[in-house]
Amino acid sequence: MSDEQFDDLIERVAAELREPVALRPDFDARVMARVQQARPRGMGRVLQWLVAPRQVAISPLTGLAAACALILGFWFALAQGRSSRMVAPAAVERVADERLAAEVEVVRFVLVAPGANAVALVGDFNGWDTGSTPLRPVGATDVWSVEVPLVRGAHEYAFVIDGREWRADPAAPRAGSNDFGPPNSVVIVGARAS
């Protein structure tokens, strides 16, 4: 077979394989049903919404108005505090805190990272954002640590060293198959008996 015939054959093959492939008509519905099942619920969803990074665009005029409103609100609260004793908010906050506390536990993440200049925690709870949860060095040791409030359930996470090296937690179980690169670890919050 000449080069020309060979190229022609490969082009015929490729052209045939480029033909559209039919999916079952309910494919989208089946995917979305599984997506709905995978969607975080309750506090997990709220927390995800709170921690998901997003860009907000406002005009300078709106920004100025918002700043004025904040200053006025702060001034008004101060004036109210001086003229009458503050009541109620502390109790309301306490109830809210108690409800939240039932769903949230503070988890300490620790990593021994000799020679590291910076260590960040990334996970499904902070949108895998390397900038949102830095660990702090513990004294002059190689130990880095951070405490994070997490809602009950399983969370995947990993450490990022010096902004580039992705590392699973050696002290935690590994997550299942990871299609996106290095392995992650899993922490299960609320697993202990209450």
């Binding site: 045939e16 559209p20 494919f27 989208d28 995917v31 979305m32 919404w49 998901a52 954002d129």
Partner: protein, 186 residues
Amino acid sequence: MIPDSDAEVISRVLAGDTEAFAILVARHRDRFARFARHMMGNREDAEEALQDAFVRAYRSLGRCAEPDRFDAWLYRILANRCRTAAARRRRRERTFVSDDRALDQAWSRPEVERSEWREELARALARLEHKQREAFLLKHVEQLSYEEMSVLTRDGVSALKMRVRRACVRLQLFLKDGDQIRGQHV
């Protein structure tokens, strides 16, 4: 009206609008269905791999570093799903035809709904090694550049060029084999 870009849709999903993910599914499913179909060799496995890929993409959407290149990211997930599913299937059963006797049997089985050429091609494709099949499909069917393929597969450009070349040569040989087998059966 200009449709939302992938990055805009992803922002909406991350902000809690789960239903917006359906836009990404509708936008990309056909192209990826073709890749999955040719990688897996049958519709059921292809649809399962593609579904898995979309759901995994949804779960990890916050980790999509370049939302404007969602399709490239999804390709990588799907390629991995196909690889995992194929390995699992190889362990479970010998689905792909891999020896001459099985090839003969497969050839004699009536497949009325498909053309001869398509059947022959599907068998030849199935006989390629997984990585060669993937490289051939990405290059010649999905028409990606070697640089794009390198990003997806994390293999070097030279290795990919070699793999595509070998896939082409082997396809030609397998298709020639098919001609001979067909000749024996006529």
